[in-house]
């Protein structure tokens, strides 16, 4: 199902992940979050931005532990855990946050 962002129609795969990573812009995340009835706060954006930076460098989403550690460093130790990430992204930080950030879905036994 394609999504409409700022007047443009962007292709997605069956699960709603952006088909073309280069088409991402911040409003992609906002539109996707709206579909999930989620309002994006600064905390959400911190995660989304980190995911995009990491992807840029490594061509994959970060491992859960890499993500929690980075969040802990940036936002305080009490937030460096999966529980905090799930409170922001109830469908799972790995999958939901990646989707908003325009990253492909992590595959495999995860």
């Amino acid at each position: 199902m394609p999504i409409e962002v700022n007047g443009k129609t962007l292709e997605t795969d069956e699960e709603g992940y952006l088909a073309n990573l280069n088409e991402w812009e911040p409003d992609v995340a906002t539109v996707m979050a709206k579909e999930d009835d989620l309002e994006l706060t600064d905390e959400h954006w911190d995660i989304i931005n980190f995911l995009r930076e990491y992807y840029e460098e490594f061509q994959i989403a970060p491992a859960v532990r890499v993500l929690t550690k980075a969040v802990g460093k940036r936002m305080g130790k009490d937030k460096g855990n999966s529980k905090y990430l799930y409170s922001l992204f109830p469908y799972g930080p790995g999958k939901q946050a990646c989707k908003y950030a325009g990253l492909p879905k992590p595959t495999g036994c995860v």
Partner: protein, 507 residues
């Protein structure tokens, strides 16, 4: 949280009242052309697909005698009917193993038996039609190839092999499953199911080393691509990426460290899983397995050890030698390959690991036997080692352990509900329903013995449980790696206990 009914948990397995076709809507996403072609399958349904499918079925019965025997020998005794977790959880009669087999058997009869050729209606034989193909696609992706039914079948008919054959035929006519086929393509291209490139793997391992050192004060290494190492560890890539898997990886690293082992991970064979088995494709299974051989040769190792992964161990234990052997270049004094639990078990028996069991006293454990290990392989040199070794290891590092009911463990174990290539979000309904028998058994030990955690030795089981636990009133962190338990109780040489640290700080 679910847009379907979550089954109620029960005190013991109950045969549900049948609800015909209640799961007929369940289908995974179909693989796109690019994913199909990476595996040398046609990109879309081929023109004369009926003939191709029928011919492929005939070829498979010649290639695998077992398949022909399984298709010929069922006497409809009914022993298997209530043994499948997907049937028990969904109540759909087509999820009875015999009914699932019959989806393929009825076509086999039509084209390959005398009675089916001339009197099809008398023997329930049908033509290969699009409706039949669609039904295959749905119900052969509601089988996790766990083989529990085969344990109870008086003829030993293995539905897993029938389901693998069906998936192979579907791939050959151009209708593959996205989840499995995309993943196998990633193994060929990048080396693992996740698509975790070498640089990301190196960065992740470094991060884990830092964490272990922060926590214990000991520099435990997770070496990558070290030529001349003695041991190559091949583990599911989920161990690098997901929770609770990564804590198991930390456990392996601590064990290797304490044993003074010279070990390495390979970025080329950074995956133990072999989804080639799930899709019944010998060629693809072989290609994945050959990566392990190449990595072992390139790195010049003497031993190969597999991490906690269910079907990987089945492929390794049962097929690796014929798929990718001979492994005559490895040290013959050790099993080829070896399971990480065999390795740790041996060290524990010899008293080479300094264990403080009380460090796991905050938990009461039970253990989930993974299907492919329980029913498709063995560990150690004694029959039933695959049941005793994991439990011996858990009991050696934990004070509190209780098994689940007898008819839900060992070779009667219930699948987690996500095995066999079903661990994908588009199959969440059947995954949740299929988990019901295991969840019921967990609930019983929780109520009877106050069990807090279930230990597992398979990446799929761990992910599946962390996803389905919340549907049944448990929490996602109640599943744990066996090697996390080992790692948490293992006192590293030079590591200070918490008490000593407090004393240091006071001084």
């Amino acid at each position: 949280m679910a847009d379907f009914d979550v089954p109620e948990l029960k005190e013991y397995p109950v045969i549900p009242i049948l609800q015909e076709d209640v799961m007929a809507h369940s289908k995974p996403y179909v693989a796109k052309e690019e994913f199909q072609q990476q595996l040398s399958f046609p990109g879309e349904l081929v023109e004369n697909w009926e003939q191709v499918a029928v011919k492929e079925l005939g070829d498979l019965t010649k290639k695998y005698r077992s398949l022909k025997v399984f298709l010929d020998s069922c006497v409809k005794c009914g022993a298997c009917t209530d043994k499948c977790h997907y049937f028990l959880g969904s109540a759909d009669p087509k999820n009875m193993p015999v009914a699932r087999q019959d989806l393929l058997r009825k076509v086999y009869r039509r084209y390959y038996t005398f009675a089916g050729k001339y009197f099809p209606k008398l023997v329930g034989a049908v033509d290969m039609t699009k409706d039949v193909l669609d039904e295959w696609y749905s119900y052969f992706h509601q089988c996790s190839q766990c083989r529990r039914c085969s344990v109870f079948c008086p003829y030993g008919i293995d539905t897993a092999e029938i389901s693998m054959a069906a998936r192979e035929i579907m791939d050959k006519v151009g209708v593959g499953q996205k989840y499995c086929n995309e993943i196998i393509g990633k193994v060929f291209k990048i080396g693992n199911n996740l698509g975790l490139p070498e640089a990301a793997l190196a960065d992740t391992l470094e991060g884990i080393e830092e964490d272990i050192e922060d926590e214990t004060g000991v520099a435990v290494k997770l070496p990558l691509d070290v030529k001349g190492a003695d041991i190559l560890l091949v583990t599911p890539s989920a161990d690098f990426f997901a929770e609770p898997h990564v804590d198991g990886l930390i456990g392996y690293a601590k064990v290797f460290h304490e044993a003074g082992a010279n070990w390495t991970i390979s970025s080329y064979a950074s995956e133990a899983a072999n989804f080639g088995m799930f899709i019944g494709s010998y060629e693809n299974m072989r290609e994945v397995a050959l990566r392990v051989r190449k990595a072992a040769l390139d790195l010049g190792v003497k031993r190969i050890i597999f991490g906690e992964c269910g079907h990987a161990w089945r492929v390794a234990y049962s097929f690796l030698n014929t798929l990718a052997g001979p492994f005559d270049f490895l040290d013959p004094n050790y099993p080829v390959p070896q399971h990480i639990l065999e390795y740790t078990h041996d060290l524990l028996e010899k008293g080479k690991l300094n264990i403080d069991k009380s460090l796991n006293d905050d938990k009461v454990l039970t253990f989930h036997d993974s299907c492919n290990i329980a029913r498709g392989s063995r560990m150690g040199d004694k029959p039933g080692g695959q049941f005793t070794i994991p439990r011996d290891v858990i009991k050696a590092v934990c004070n509190n352990f209780y098994d689940m009911q007898q008819d839900t463990i060992h070779d009667s174990t219930f699948c987690c509900g996500g095995g066999g290539g079903l661990l994908t979000d588009d199959l969440m309904e059947i995954r949740v329903k299929g988990a019901e028998p295991r969840m019921s058994a967990v609930k019983n030990v929780v109520e009877e013995h106050g069990v807090t955690h279930m230990a597992a030795i398979c990446a799929i089981c761990k992910t599946q449980f962390s996803k389905v636990f919340p549907y049944y009133g448990f929490t996602m962190d109640q599943v744990i790696s066996v090697h996390q338990l080992v790692g948490d109780a293992l006192m590293l040489s030079g590591q200070k206990s918490d008490d000593e640290e407090v004393e240091d700080e006071a001084a």
